[in-house]
Amino acid sequence: MTLLDLPEAHSLHAKQHPAAHEDDAELTEKTVFGFWLYLMSDVVLFATLFAVFAVVGRSYAGGPTGQELFDLPYVLIETAVLLASSVAFGFVTLAAQDNRKQATLLWMALTFAIGAIFIVMEVYEFHHLIGEGAGPDRSAFLSAYFTLVGTHGLHVFTGLFWMIISGIQLARDGLTATVQRRLGLLGLFWHFLDVIWIVVFTEVYLIGVL
């Protein structure tokens, strides 16, 4: 664009730029707050499921107990995997701030891969439990367990899907204001899911085997 090198074009650009910048900033601020409100409503959704588990989590109906079913070393690995994925997204945020498109894409691919390992581990765990006759229909405890952990897993799955979409947009458009904004929201969502998991492993698995 040779036109932009002309002095007039420069001053024109400088005059228009602050307004566009303000619009972008205001939109970003509003969007982030709106998404934050969604996350808070998700907190309430998870709180109901946690409350249900707290109430019926020991109603085994003569079936297997958490102590018999849960394999803590396996859960510890799941926890480590999800934490690693959350930290990996931190590097997505840092690379995006530095306007490094390739690095952003690479870190997002890594975040996706680690997140996918978590989902595979969880699906395997569910499959194993159902195979042992400990499916969601066995007892109130297992109904609450599958609903709570499954809802979290569904969120993680949604996050992975979102990463694919964002990856495509990023590859196509580069780090535009819109892509940056969406990556910011995805980051909030991804870190939020790790916060929920802290309560899951503490209430369901750790207290569950005590």
Binding site: T28, W36, A47, V87, L175, H191
Partner: protein
């Protein structure tokens, strides 16, 4: 550095040391919680209290180092929304446990908490 495209995003102003600190603290807190339960160091009730405290601390660490919540003026409404959500969570979880355990105690004859006889109703 955050430019105009990122300055209002969550994570604006985040730097590497946030994520490193968050990772190290999370590994310590999670490791301590699992170790306490797997090695049976403390009595059952003490273990529950300690791992709940560890979870609360880790949530705080994640909020500060990963979600970058702070007390800045710009984030005031986010924090208000979070506090309101916390109130709802408290009512939901605390209220459910309170009501359901009371009902449970009163409806199971022979439970230690059973003080009233059916004739009393």
């Amino acid at each position: 550095m955050a430019d105009h495209k990122t300055e209002h995003l969550p994570g604006a102003g985040a730097s590497l040391h946030h994520y490193v600190r968050g990772l190290i603290l999370s590994v310590i807190l999670t490791g301590a919680a699992f170790a306490l339960v797997m090695m049976h160091v403390l009595p059952r009730n003490a273990t529950i209290v300690v791992i709940l405290a560890l979870a609360a601390i880790q949530i705080f660490v994640h909020l500060v180092d990963f979600l970058h919540i702070d007390s800045s003026l710009e984030q005031r409404w986010n924090v208000y929304a979070a506090l309101f959500a916390l109130l709802v969570v408290g009512i939901l979880v605390g209220g459910s446990i309170w009501i359901m355990f009371n009902a449970h105690e009163r409806m199971n004859p022979g439970m230690p908490g059973m003080t009233m006889t059916p004739e009393a109703f």
